[in-house]
Amino acid sequence: MIVNRAEVIIGRIVLVIVLLLTILPLANMLSAALQPADVNPVGLRWPTDPQWINFATAFETGNVWRLMGSSLFIVVFVVPTALIFATLAGYALGNLRVRGGRFLFLFLILGLTIPFEALIIPLYYEMKGLGVLNTQWAVILPLIGLYMPFSVVWMRAHFLGVPTELSEAARVDGATTFQEFWRIQMPLARPALSALAILLFLWTWNQFLLPVVLIADPLNRTVAGSLTFFQGQYSSSIPLLNAGALIIIVPTIVVFIIFQRQFIRALLQGAVKG
């Protein structure tokens, strides 16, 4: 590869500046979180006497355990259900190629670009009608439906890539459709499924609009949706607000750093396919 030395150096410098800009707001949160809770903090600086106690206070008054539990409850219902539904439908469209499947596929594609805001008002009254408004189900049920276009298109793309000889061989050996699906297709679908699982987890955990509108009690929302509750709770204390927000962010960052390779791959694939 032919490159100028100057280019390499400029590249490094620009990269370092961008990296600093990326971290700055997060570092700034930490710096605010460690300043005394009862004073208005000043900008970015390492406090002489870091108040780690702020995190404990924010954890306590923010009901963080309850929030995490509520988020987890939502994730535990949404992600596996969406994965199962999407895999079954993806298999029907990608492998079985059912009659009318093309129509179904186009019908789903239609849903890919609908912004959640366009549906939120009717969803509110729909959830009210179902009697689940202000419970976690008001977020769980719509999210499963809203994830279908992306998830089915994603799994369909995977099943299209699996050679048809595999299914034919299985059929010749007398496997039923379900056996073939379970024994042969599922193990092969694992990478596509785990990438989709990561994306759905992240989107659910960070979901904001639906919980804010559909669940009145912030303690029953997702953690992201409860951030507005933090803003109200700590409107008089910037250090505590930042400590609370950091507590909410850190688990996601930890999970991200552990699985970063899978995360980045999933997000990039998600971007391209979406």
């Binding site: 279908m148 971007a271 391209v272």
Partner: protein, 304 residues
Amino acid sequence: MTTSIAPRRAAAKRAVRRGTLIGWAFAAPALLAYLAFVITPLLLGVQYSFYRWNGVGPSEWVGLANYLRVFTDPNLLGAIRNAFVLIGFFTIIPVSAGLVLATLIRTMRTGFFSSASQTILFLPQIIPLAAAGIAWSWMYAQTGAVNQILNAVGLGFLARPWLGDLQTALPAVGLIGSWVLTGLCTVLFLTGIGKIDQSLYEAVRLDGANWWREFITVTIPGLRQEIAVLVTITVIAALSSFDIIFTTTLGGPGRATMVPGILIYRIGFTQSDVGLASAFGIVLMILVLACVLPIQRLARAGAR
């Protein structure tokens, strides 16, 4: 002969029908969820949009009056205008910055520094947008880091409460979007550049092309697909922005940062004008489609 073919044919037909039936059974749960929680609210929204309704009392058919208001009310038009301004910050800045950054760092050998910088560039993509809003409201505060840095470099006269100032609030909110999306663009472009045939770069270099020519003749055409994808995603993010604005300005000061998402929420739930909010929602959906479809068509035409 005919007697044996007929039943066989019937059996084959039955098998196909059974296959189709099983196929639709596989697709049914997804289809039902989609019908129940996407299509139903969509149709409900269309229905509401023709009525005046406060959410509890009786409703009154008003025809296209709600749509007329969407296109004549300066407040609603202002929100749409702001959403288009945000495209500059959510799409143009991140995509161009991502292109330049990816070009500059493409020569980096894979190693700890390169993978660490990927991780860091991706961080804003991982945290909730609402949290990014909180982080940045503190950055932009009167005593916050932005003003502190301006003071430190002798530009203190520029210092102000960025989100509270009518002139700067919208760009300030927009830059939060740039912060969130630049990393995603950079990393996706980096992977894209990795797939471009390296001999193309060598060839233009041997022709004596400078950095700019190489960028225009090799990098940009090679990344056409990635550019189309990122423009689509970021335009949707700009037009349907909600989380960041909800946690920073709520549309204020005045209406300086009001966007369709926040306004739908306000009209629908604070002002209880369900019909108007639904009509605005439908218009927003059509607006997104109208922006995304040409991008897709351009990308496909370009690929041919």
